[in-house]
């Protein structure tokens, strides 16, 4: 298994901890988790990327589309703790600027 997601409920948001590689094959799993949280009434999501070792355009799309769906439900999706090449892709694309978790989210 090259990819896993674990869910950690917190007071202000739900954390999704991603492990492994996010690509065309695995990005749909992230979308499914976001949908599950939204249907459970949890539209504030922080995606922890500390243990993510690869992220491509499919991953970027999953973050952006996830944030759109959360916004439509009155929440947001943010990303935090990217490392190495994952951080490089997020910064190059500009997605880090708009989706980085700041702690100030309403």
């Amino acid at each position: 298994m090259s990819f896993a997601i674990s869910v950690r409920r917190q007071d202000a948001f739900t954390a999704l901890l991603l492990t492994g590689e996010l690509d065309m094959a695995t990005a749909p799993h992230l979308g499914e988790h976001v949908d599950d949280l939204l249907s459970g009434g949890h539209p504030r999501i922080v995606v922890d990327l500390h243990d993510l070792t690869f992220c491509d355009s499919s991953g970027l799309n999953a973050f952006v589309q996830g944030d759109r769906r959360c916004t439509a439900e009155g929440g947001w999706l943010r990303v935090t703790r990217p490392r190495g090449h994952v951080a490089r892709v997020l910064e190059l694309s500009g997605v880090a600027e708009v989706l980085a978790y700041s702690g100030d989210e309403a």
């Binding site: 590689e21 065309m24 690869f54 491509d56 952006v64 759109r68 090449h85 892709v89 708009v98």
Partner: protein
Amino acid sequence: MTDAGTPPADPDGVPGELIRRPFDRSGITDLRHAVAHCAAAAGLAGQALDDFVLVVNELATNAVRHGGGQGRLRLWRADGRIFCEIADRGSGIAAGSASGLDRPPPLSAGGWGLWLAHQLSDHLSVSTSPGGTTVQISAATTTAECGAGPSTSE
């Protein structure tokens, strides 16, 4: 593995060939790992290696998504460089579609793949027609050795 039997002989085959294989959606991750293995053995390292592998991944993803669901990849080394060619038999890139040269807006869904490929490769050429699209990239390497990759041909 997605190899469908022995690939036909190709007159374009070169002595430094490292990988030649077809791929589809289910084989993208394995393909990326095989390319990373061979590119590392060929001397790419650090950010240059990660960038090369991401570009190959984006081009293969485009082939699956827009090029008829599958493609063919060839990886070889020559003249101190490592080359990768990804070909599909889709309907080609329509005139007027995104060139991949302009960065998509940060909150756009889609359009990242070709942009990242241009951004992270120091050489990229695209040949497209109604019969399919072929993209070739290359990067300078530091050594000329490559151990037997998981999918070297012959």
